[in-house]
């Protein structure tokens, strides 16, 4: 094959090659972003990521289950007695103060998925019982009997009106 001479100025040659490689590499990396982003939830799912809930229909002592991001969310309208009882203790297996788990004491909002293996617990008397393996939660959603290890998860939510919450946005 043909011979080629080595340039004296290898420094400049290397520099050009380095710059081009960096610019090209940056472009290739940037080009991958739309592909990766396309795999993230699309716009209509993000819209469902926030669910507005009107609380005025839930009587004192009553519970409502709504869907949020495909999961059940328990909304419990607690009576003053229930609130007092919950404030008196720190829970069971995962101690936590009741005031850390609610924004307004009469409204408990928790994700209705047992922290053991994911079944949906049932409301029975005070708190919830999970019929899959027997875990029990109190009226603050805290686990008081296993095998579940953690308290029911509190989703991000905020009050957008006196009687309306938006689940999905803290």
């Amino acid at each position: 094959m043909a011979e080629y001479e080595e340039l004296d100025d290898t420094g400049r040659r290397d520099f050009l090659l380095k710059v081009t490689s960096v610019v090209g590499g940056a472009g290739a990396a940037a080009a991958s972003l739309p592909f990766i982003a396309s795999m993230n939830p699309s716009a209509e799912l993000l819209a469902k990521a926030n669910t507005e809930v009107d609380l005025s229909g839930i009587p004192e002592g009553g519970m409502h289950t709504v869907a949020w991001q495909g999961k059940p969310v328990f909304i419990l309208h607690r009576t003053p007695e229930e609130i007092k009882a919950m404030k008196a203790t720190n829970g069971g297996l995962q101690p936590e103060q009741d005031s850390d788990r609610v924004k307004k004491p009469q409204w408990l909002v928790v994700i209705g998925v047992c922290t053991h293996m994911g079944c949906v617990p049932n409301k029975e008397g005070p708190g919830w019982t999970c019929h899959c393996h027997g875990s029990q939660y109190d009226d603050s959603g805290r686990v008081i009997r296993g095998p579940a290890p953690n308290n029911l998860e509190v989703p991000p939510y905020r009050f957008i009106a006196e009687n309306k919450i938006m689940i999905g946005q803290a």
Binding site: A2, Y4, E5, L7, R13, L16, T20, V23, A43
Partner: protein, 215 residues
Amino acid sequence: MNKFIAACTLCCTIVLPASAAETKLENFQADTSVVAVERGVDTFMNACHGCHSLKYVHYRDLASLGIDKDRITVWRGDSTLDSAMTSLLSDEAAIQSFGKVPPDLSMMVRAREGGNSYIYSYLTGYYLTPDGKTSNHFFPLTKMPDALEISSATDPVKRSELQEKAHDIVSFLSWASDPHEAERKALGYYVIGYLIILTVLLYNVKLQVWSRLKV
């Protein structure tokens, strides 16, 4: 000789299609800014939404564009923010009144030759026939009534008002058919700019590599 033939061949590809297109359509530039689209939605809801749906456009898309949520609440009435902009006119009622179901408008500006210009010309192309009926210059067989009532507008002020309305409607429909147009073009400038820089660099690398070759 070869270059001449090649040049002729190239010219033919440009000249032929250009002469094939003849149009009496008004040249129309859509204004897809938020303000214009908002006006367009408002006009659309009053003049068109009674019969026409936009099944692929959701009220939340208007919110993403930047239109005030309160205005959207007025427009959507009982429908949720998540729902599509469907008309309340049922298919049966439509066929009874007009003979056919009014077509969905989500993609209408793209679905017609002439695009925006055609839809605008069509909307403003209604006129009164000698026997008092309305017809349309651009689609004589249309079953759609003169929604803007432009055929009976002889006053130039009134006419230009209605043309403004049509302009807003088409701007909205243009946005509706391609909501990402603005984003696409903006990104395009960056991508092409980057590629030009990269190609210049690659050209210089190529020159440098090839300069090593002994003649």
